[in-house]
Symmetry: C2
Subunit: 125 residues, 2 copies
């Protein structure tokens, strides 16, 4: 079943990727510079991406929002691209997951503090 699929995939330029993912063109270039995203080049030197680049960029944004650095993301990319992982990567995945969970707990505590203040100030106009 795994045939060498050379079915001329439609390639898009950087502007379309940026608009599609809701980020700046500068950001997309930055991702490539960090090794997060690879692009072919047109004869004139323009970057050409496969459409899945858009969802990848969205994913990067989500991970950035969760506090992962681009370095960490590059280290963990093999976990998606290949379904394959070694022990180190699995450990890193869990570490990041736990870090995110801890952050969630902190934020909920902070939110509750603000809710208290809001409740009080609403009673003291």
């Amino acid at each position: 079943m795994t045939v060498t699929e050379t079915a001329t995939e439609r390639l898009v330029r950087i502007g379309e990727v940026a608009r599609g993912a809701g980020v700046s063109v500068r950001a997309v270039r930055y991702y490539e510079q960090q090794g997060l995203l690879v692009a072919e080049r047109s004869p004139s030197g323009q970057r050409l991406y496969r459409q899945d680049a858009i969802s990848r960029v969205r994913f990067f944004q989500q991970m950035f929002a969760a506090g992962l650095t681009s370095r960490r993301i590059t280290e963990l990319m093999p976990c998606w691209d290949a379904g394959h992982t070694d022990a180190d990567q699995r450990a890193m995945l869990r570490a990041e997951r736990d870090r995110i969970q801890a952050k969630i707990d902190d934020l909920q505590a902070a939110r509750d503090r603000l809710d208290e203040v809001i409740a009080i100030t609403d009673n003291h106009p």
Copy 2:
């Protein structure tokens, strides 16, 4: 009942505040520079804090962790210090609360993404 309470409150120096709150001395000075914390001065110029400075610093940390800037915190301090607030402040409180909640949602989504990957990679060793 509201007597001018001059009951010689025990004052502490910056080191004790820092250790008590689990931050660096530099951080405490920074908070003063940003207008978050006020300190008396000893004749020789050393900062003297009331003990509640420690819990205040802890609170700052919590707000920082929630993504508030020192500027925002200064703007919202009156909501604690006095029980008094104006409309702008109440609006800002709610805005920050909602921002935090949105961040929580983002983090939970990110965590779930990682959980998926973890589940998959655990089945493909």
